[in-house]
Symmetry: D2
Subunit: 304 residues, 4 copies
């Protein structure tokens, strides 16, 4: 099988209100990122507020996304849960509706030990009917997929790679080295400001939240880098770094998602309603986003 | 309303296999703890592996527990979830089936700020039709119910107290002081070795996992303490401390639940199957439990 | 040897300016706490800013304190250092000048493992000519004196007890249980709001920073407790808790020392200059201290 | 002033026993790294066990190193201390003996807030007579030099750069951006496996502990990278990564220094005695080092 590569957008979940999808917003958003050239779409990740959504909404977005995307780009579906039974049910929906792959973190309430984590994944994989990407996110799950654990898991053919959101580039490098035993694995990085750098140490691309807003910026930076046009890559990466300014607004961990949704709302793509326990930006923060979006002038570099 | 007091047992969830209740074990366990004199039963807590269970099982145990207990002691139902919609659904089931109160931690994937936590609880309470006990468990949820936040939440009549599993007795004391503004609040402590001590600083009792195994030991220790028989209370508390030895077996965070289930299995009460990502004790650990249970001689002090 | 018991005051170090003792302030402070009835004085602890002081000042305060106290109460000298050679030198000064005992935390820059910590203490003890109290302060040193390590160290006769500033009462209880093998050990608690409670679980007293300000309040609370006058003990403990309000001023970890020194300055006892990287309270914070000291009315309960 | 660049070796401190330098080992070590082409030498850093050494030894190594190096490469002297007075004294020795620059972390016992940290450095700089490099090492000091704090400190001319051992490449990138306001600043990275990568994000070189053992390996990797010979740079970087294997021996934080000293002892350069609370490798660990050094064959790539 060929490796997945490039920019996977971790789609926000457009919501019209509590437990209610903004369906038209979702359509517009999907069209926008596909037009922007993204190499894949990942729904029900952290940026997609998956854990805050009811299972009804989670199933609905799987169905709608499959239908709307219709095979134009690969679709990854997050099935992370504290209950393996619920993860398996979502995986079944993803398979039935035609998604391409699944994404799974460690269970995240009671922290598992590495032996338990290994046994958990080993037990899950045969219960899934789609390829699985492991998702390392110790900040949320309290535990790491340690390199030794990944080395053992590399024996399972249906595991196809790792997404790492630890922000620890030394760890990421170690993960990339696992391609020695699994050349087919895709190794994606979470933090978008590290995307370009991650390609230097053997990575395959980024799961970049900012690609919801400026898909082409991330896609072209990636493509400039892999095609060897380092000058252009650096210019675009500078723009990506400049864009990080939107994440300085607000003070809680949720500000990343809030800022992304706020941008999309300002751009007229979708609603910025958020499920509990989070809330859309207040007017003064929205005003800051509006001002920033004007200032960035991403369009001068890339047509969005 | 009168305060809840005494020993609330955070019931383990007897399982016969994946996604399958051990119904007879559940009945025996409930009878055992009621015979043991517990002042209340709390299902779907951490000890009950709530987060690892499918929603089907969660609903089923609510129904079965309500029916079996049949009002003999108050029943608390954990509705902790990352999705407020799913929490509210479970609360609805608890209300319909006749439970007495609900228990809720902070959402635990993406950590909320205190303002967000306050808004979350404020939004949840009117969606519930039963009184609510807040559950402080920063080790799992990453955030605290800070005293200031609790002070604001104390204005909501339908909140009836706090269970604190932080293990920080200074914090616990501060929570107890909130009785100045809410004399009707019940303040329970999680760590069972601190139960007796917690009564000295103004607490109302313990949510003591060990009461699954030796309910009368905990109940009599509590009662000796509140009746002023401090010599007997200390003797019983020494037994409780001795009992903590079972938690030294194994090396992961889950060992607390494993040990409790293993004891119950050894005592013939219920199966010790555990949902992913955890597993029952291996034979050598079970052998240690058998040896310990023989050695403790709790019966010499209290009839169990 | 008899156990040390009661209230040990961790003396602030009165400073007149950078690298300069406020000698008269030191005299007044020592007289004040002895008049207040403290059972011992501990210089060069955390409250004494030991780590911020030059070695010249450290030696000077040892000399002056020994001379001023002149055997009226036991004098403990902190010799905590990252260099065992410097610790041993200070210990030598303490011995020569006539101090009674030494206090030592784990080396605190590069964290040692438990085996290393054990070997370190085992190597230090014979290099000292005074009895040694171990000081558990994981918040500063990054490591704990684990119970198993303490159990092994209990074999060294010249170790005479433990001061615990972890704030973890479960750990403290475990330390107290070591009296089974070392009935002569003194187990002191750091956080002053836990002093009274610590006596319930087998402790011997507190190393209470607040005793710099209100020595008699702490002493009388301790004495009421051990003499069985629980009503008076609780009343006094409530005052101690009320006093904790001074520690809510300011926002950095150093605020505990700042508040204590500020109180002493307001009361005319000594200067509140602090060594780098800390600084005395600004006027608005000082004004809050003045207002609080007026409000506390400790004198109505105990003559200070 | 020109920026410092390249490989600065954080010299281990060769010791012949407690509080006793291995003077001949020190001479050999200095000659070895200078022959290996290092661009600078940093004594009294973490690798140099500075905090474990007596002040007598610290002064002696400054004198000996200045004399031995004799201006052939720049000499950086660590003056990190919890007492600003002692830091200033060491700085005076460094100046008198002819060192080139000083290196300073935050005070590391009681953690300072950012305002306090800023005031501390602002107060220190005029007390020093040599240029100062700030050293970010939150793992040891508990606090970061936050970017905002560095931005303010950038106004002090005598501060000449930052060494970052946080391991957080996103932070490191932000530090590098400060060259916009201070083009003369040198930004070095601590973790040696990140040295090559750090050059991609704007860094100036590494303070690489492994350069004690294989100076030329690090120097040539650096030089290949900056001269644009990326193939050779990668080859050498792979060797550096292979070399990291020595740090997998042992289980405590101190294993980095132990392994480095052990290598040097095996290579006949100097003694591997360590000051308390650490100890040289036991024979079985030394045997592993011997086996690894044989296997690495660094010499095939670079003449050492």
């Amino acid at each position: 099988m060929e490796r997945y590569k490039g920019i996977i957008v971790p789609l926000v979940t457009p919501l019209a209100g509590r437990d209610q999808l903004d369906r038209e917003g979702l359509e517009r958003l999907i069209e926008r990122v596909i037009n922007g050239g993204v190499h894949g779409i990942f729904i029900l990740g952290t940026t997609g507020e998956a854990q805050s959504l009811s299972y009804g909404i989670r199933r609905e977005i799987i169905r709608l996304a499959c239908k709307q995307i219709n095979g134009r780009v690969p679709l990854f579906v997050g099935i992370t849960d504290t209950s393996s039974v619920e993860s398996a049910k979502l995986a079944q929906v993803a398979h039935t509706e035609g998604a391409d792959a699944l994404v799974l973190t460690a269970p995240y309430f009671f922290p598992a030990g590495q032996t338990e984590l290994f046994a958990y994944v080993k037990d899950m994989v045969p219960r899934l009917r789609l390829p699985l990407m492991l998702y390392n996110f110790p900040g949320m799950t309290k535990i790491w997929f340690e390199i030794k654990t990944l080395t053992h898991l590399a024996e399972m053919e249906n595991i196809i790679g790792v997404k790492d959101s630890s922000g620890d580039i030394s760890y990421y490098k170690e993960v990339c080295k696992l391609k020695k035993i699994r050349p087919d694995w895709s190794i994606f990085i979470g933090p978008e400001a590290l995307m370009s750098l991650s390609l230097d140490v053997g990575g395959d691309g980024g799961v970049s939240g900012g690609a919801n807003v400026y898909p082409r910026l991330f896609v072209e930076c990636y493509e400039a880098k892999v095609s060897g046009d380092l000058t252009r890559a650096e210019k675009l990466n500078n723009k990506i770094e400049e864009f990080q300014e939107i994440y300085t607004i607000g003070k809680y961990a949720s500000k990343y998602i809030k800022a992304t949704k706020c941008c999309l709302s300002v751009l007229g793509v979708c609603d910025d309603f958020m499920e509990q326990p989070f809330h859309r930006f207040r007017p003064e923060h929205r005003a800051m986003i509006i001002e920033m979006l004007k200032r960035f002038k991403v369009e001068q570099l890339v047509e969005v």
